[in-house]
């Protein structure tokens, strides 16, 4: 049974690549384009892994991450944060709030896929 991946990003231009990439790797993919939708989608879709952008309207990735971690039903889901800010303090915050990995944009798609696979292994 293939893993389920939820992509959360408000930019369609990255979503298209991520979605294509994940599908090509054989994952089941769902997409949410803002923080609130992400929370709702996560409960319905029960993903194994969430690719979470930080800078989003309505709810930031940090808030989403914290809310996800507060939900015991989703405790097993891995979270990879994607961010356009590469500051060390921000990375520390993401990890402290429960993210499993933190990837700075721009990233190599190969590395991303490897990272996802190792987290799901």
């Amino acid at each position: 049974m293939s893993h389920r991946i939820l992509i959360v990003d408000d930019e369609p231009n990255i979503v298209i690549s991520l979605e294509y990439l994940m599908k090509k790797e054989g994952f089941q993919v769902a997409v949410a384009t803002n923080g609130e939708a992400a929370l709702q989608r996560a409960t319905e879709f029960a993903p194994d892994l969430i690719l979470l952008d930080i800078m989003m309207p309505k709810k930031s990735g940090f808030e989403v991450c914290q809310a996800l971690r507060a939900n015991p039903a989703l405790a097993a889901a891995k979270i990879i944060m994607l961010t356009a800010k590469g500051r060390e303090t921000e990375i520390a915050k993401g990890l402290a709030l429960g993210a499993d990995a933190y990837i700075t944009k721009p990233f190599s798609t190969k590395d991303l896929v490897l990272r996802i696979k190792s987290l799901l292994a």
């Binding site: 231009n13 991520l18 808030e63 590469g86 060390e88 303090t89 520390a92 915050k93 798609t109």
Partner: protein
């Protein structure tokens, strides 16, 4: 009298000595003789008795004369000499004892004169030294003044009360440029000798900077200075550097004594705005490009890795790349054109020892919020790069919100590090807070009690390039806010170098100014029992449309000048025309020479009066015929909401106190009596100058009459004949 009594006694003894032996011999002979012989003796002696008495008296007189001749020069010469000596001690130092009388007395006089000579030489020497020392100090002062006026930085020197003791023209210019509305009338009146720096800069920041400096001094830092940024009431940004003025201390005393501080002030509003833009530019180029670049890279890599991709998919990917690249080019262009010139300035982040910040924050929280603070695992070796005032404000703000909204009873502060990051944790047990709450708090202005700040928590965190989040430690049953800040390398390592140590002689010796000793008790009010020579005065005058304020006459000009430390400060003035809103009377124009045209576009009285109120705050008002001017002011108090409650001295009444028999107490007559040149009469400022000079001449004359304090002067003025008639 004692000498005279002794003389009488000596004369008595002399008399006895001269007559006694004869009388005794006669009595003995008489007692031994037989009756016949006695009769013969008596018969022989009695008729001759007058002769015997006369001889005896003459002998006595001769003895007295001889005794007096001896007594006079030795005994009576001494009181005279004592009088002369008194004279030499007091009134006339050059007087000398006359060399007269017997040799012994002359010797004494000579020795006394020698002693006086020696004293004179010593005194002269001391006077010369004092004069020399004064000249040196004066020279130093002049040199410093010259140096300061050359500086391109604003310099202000204050004592610990925050009173301005010294400022240069640049500082004045800077504050003048800041002044908006009222204060511009007095040319930046807020800066002035004896005025409080706190009317310009925020008290909290100054005290905080001072505390920082004291802490550094205790650690023996070679550079005990502090930097801060402050925004003024008009929204300008000032960058200030504070350096302590340290009193020379005895070698044994370890603790350096700070008696005041030097502030160098720079207006960085414009450069700061540029800097903010620059930051924005940088950010839009880096963070903004990251996302776009990520999109492109992901699309390109997907395209390369997926040769099998269907055509319409491929097209969508191509469009992503085209979109993103053109958007990036556009952004680059825009950024380059917008931020072509940006100066390099930053918030002055200081390297501070982390525990110092926590200690200061703990003190502040306990002080302001009465919330007990405990320390938990504080790494004493950590240095951070921070704006300490803002950071402490932020910690205090969080503590106050926790106390107010979550009723926490105790807060623990923790300090630890990881890599290049320092963690400041605010830990409490019990009530958990939601992350949403923290998000909301981050965006509020940080107001604690009456203290307000234009900054939000987020501003402070961002200024430091830090982060803040809320976390729960379930195992320990507590929750904490974590503030992450960039660490700094230990900067003061070389500060312990004894060669650079504070007590070394390398520091320039500016601190023999006695200005710093001027501690003043002024504070909020004016103490009526202070000496007239110690008070600060605002001498003012008004020109009006006419003489009857109750019949609608209005003020058209106000002028004032300050007296500080017995000096008329001709630079610190208030000079403003006022639009009276009513037409001028032609007879008035002849006196003051002010025309309607001159008053066009001038501010109205409400604006001018509130500026004047600020100008003369905490000073004694002085005016000639003050009753007249005060009536104009007091009539407006209610409608304009400005109240002049300070004491008022009237030079007209004081003149009547000093010279009760003079016919005229007009300003001209008094000025003439005191030999003061009158220039520019009948302009408000000109008259204020004259009144001020007159008042300064009056102070010593009043002192001669025993009128030393403000209260005494007010009472004396009240009692004059003029006062009884006029009021």
């Amino acid at each position: 009298m004692k000498a005279r009594f002794r003389f009488a006694l000596a004369v008595g003894v002399l008399g006895l000595l001269m007559t006694g032996p004869f009388l005794l011999a006669a009595l003995l002979l008489y007692a031994e003789a037989r009756d016949v012989e006695r009769a013969v003796f008596a018969g022989f002696l009695v008729p001759r008795l007058p002769l015997v008495v006369v001889v005896a008296v003459m002998g006595l007189i001769a003895g007295m004369v001889a005794l007096r001749g001896l007594f006079r020069p030795y005994v009576q010469g001494l009181p005279r000499m004592a009088e002369t000596l008194r004279l030499m001690l007091g009134a006339n130092r050059n007087f000398r004892v006359a060399l007269e009388g017997p040799p012994e007395v002359r010797d004494l006089a000579r020795a006394t004169n020698d002693l006086a000579q020696q004293r004179d030489e010593l005194l002269l020497d001391v006077e010369t030294r004092i004069r020399q020392a004064k000249a040196t100090v004066e020279e130093e002062k002049n040199r410093l003044a010259a140096l300061m006026s050359e500086l391109a930085l604003g310099v202000v020197v204050c004592n610990l009360d925050g009173r301005i003791l010294l400022y240069n023209s640049r500082a004045r210019l800077q504050f003048k440029a800041l002044a908006q509305g009222p204060t511009s009338m007095s040319g930046g009146a807020l800066i002035g000798l004896g005025r409080s720096i706190f009317s310009i800069l925020e008290r909290g920041q100054i005290t905080h900077a001072l505390e920082n400096i004291q802490q550094r001094l205790r650690r023996g830092s070679a550079e005990p200075t502090a930097n801060f940024i402050t925004s003024t009431r008009t929204g300008q940004l000032l960058r200030a550097q504070m350096a302590p003025v340290i009193a020379p201390t005895a070698e044994a005393e370890r603790e350096p004594q700070v008696t005041g501080y030097v502030l160098t002030i720079e207006n960085i509003t414009r450069s700061f705005e540029r800097e903010a833009e620059r930051d924005q530019a940088l950010q839009s180029l880096t963070d903004g490009s990251r996302a776009a670049l990520a999109n492109i890279r992901a699309a390109v890599e997907t395209l390369i890795d997926s040769p099998e991709m269907e055509a319409d998919y491929r097209e969508r990917f191509m469009r992503v790349i085209a979109d993103e690249t053109s958007a990036m080019s556009g952004r680059l262009e825009a950024t380059m054109s917008r931020f072509a010139d940006a100066l390099k300035t930053r918030w002055p982040l200081e390297d501070v020892l982390g525990i110092d910040i926590l200690a200061a924050a703990a003190r502040r929280i306990e002080d302001r919020l009465q919330l007990p603070i405990k320390n938990e695992d504080q790494d004493a070796t950590l240095w951070m790069r921070v704006d300490s005032f803002a950071l402490i404000q932020a910690i205090t703000f969080l503590a106050s919100r926790l106390r107010d909204d979550y009723a926490i009873r105790e807060l623990r502060l923790r300090l630890c590090a990881e890599g290049n990051m320092v963690f400041v944790d605010l830990i409490w047990s019990g009530t958990p807070v939601s992350s949403e709450t923290l998000y909301a708090w981050e965006l509020e202005p940080m107001n604690v009690g009456a203290e307000t700040s234009p900054l939000t928590l987020r501003d402070v965190i961002e200024r430091h390039g830090g982060e803040i989040w809320y976390q729960r430690d379930k195992a320990a049953h507590n929750a904490f806010f974590r503030i992450v800040l960039p660490a700094a390398v230990m900067p003061d390592a070389q500060a312990m170098d004894p060669a650079q140590h504070l007590h070394s002689d390398s520091r320039p010796e500016y601190y023999d100014f006695d200005l710093f000793a001027a501690r003043d008790a002024e504070g909020s009010g004016i103490d009526p029992d202070r000496r007239l020579t110690d008070l600060v005065y605002s001498v003012f005058d008004t020109e009006t449309t006419g003489l009857e304020p109750s019949n609608g006459d209005e003020i058209i000009q106000m002028g004032a000048v300050r007296i500080v430390n017995n000096r008329l400060l001709r630079q610190e003035i208030f000079d403003q025309l006022v639009d009276p809103v009513i037409p001028l009377k032609p007879e008035g124009m002849l006196i003051h020479g002010i025309t309607e045209a001159m008053l066009n576009g001038q501010p109205r009285l409400d604006v001018v009066l509130s500026a004047f109120h600020e100008f003369c705050a905490e000073t004694v008002l002085v005016a000639h015929n003050a009753a007249f001017d005060m009536r104009f002011l007091q009539l407006k108090e209610d409608s304009l909401g400005v109240r002049f409650t300070q004491p008022v001295l009237d030079t007209l009444l004081l003149s009547a106190v000093i010279h009760p028999n003079q016919e005229s107490h007009s300003l001209e007559s008094i000025a003439e009596r005191f030999g003061i040149n009158v220039i520019g009469r009948h302009t408000a400022l000109g008259d204020a100058y004259v009144t001020g000079e007159v008042f300064l001449k009056m102070i010593p004359l009043l002192a001669d009459m025993g009128i030393l304090t403000l209260r005494q002067a007010l009472d004396a003025a009240q009692e004059t004949w003029f006062a009884r008639v006029k009021y």
